[in-house]
Amino acid sequence: MADLVSTVVAKYNYWIYITLMMIGLYAMIAKNNLVKKIVGMNIFQTAIILFYVSIGVKKGATIPILQYSHGHDAHLVVHAADYVNPLPHVLMLTAIVVGVATLGVALALAIRIYDRYNTLEEDEILAQIREEK
């Protein structure tokens, strides 16, 4: 029992990130409205970015901008354990900006669907498509 409690306390961050991802996944599958599906997609994306950035955290480290890099202290040796791991940050910068571009395309598609079918609910759109056949 103490083993389970210590496991929960050590890893609760990862479990909350997994909960966020599953909220986003459920919204993309089960919601009827198209805009809610798009919101779910964005929640999923940001939760994954949160998970990746949390991998790079180090205890007692500072932000990944080199200190004392100019002036008479410029020859100090840099220790890698003093700075947070910058590699996940670089990958996730790309991911965020590509996410907003995808959001723009998804909303443009939603506007076109609304122009054609005059509704954004998925079941009504499917019923209209079935009637037109």
Binding site: N13, L20, V35, V84, L107, E121
Partner: protein
């Protein structure tokens, strides 16, 4: 990394995401999504990812919310879901 602050902001993040998916007014969902993005930005600032937090603050809590509001304005605002 103060764990109390971390836990408090994580709770707010989960509540904002559940709220954005359950309101019946799409404009409210867009604004709650902006609040969710901003809470994420705070989390990343605490973890030391300042570049990522800067990008998420400008992109997620700024431009992304404006895109959502523009799209909701051009389609309908109520939803039954």
């Amino acid at each position: 990394m103060i764990w109390q602050l971390d836990l408090a902001i994580l709770t707010l993040v989960v509540m904002a995401s559940v709220g954005a998916l359950m309101v019946k007014d799409l404009l409210g969902a867009a604004i709650l999504f902006g609040a969710y993005s901003f809470m994420m930005c705070l989390l990343w600032s605490i973890m030391g990812a300042v570049d990522v937090a800067f990008t998420e603050a400008s992109v997620g809590a700024g431009v992304s919310t404006v895109f959502f509001v523009a799209a909701v304005f051009r389609t309908s605002r109520r939803t039954k879901d």
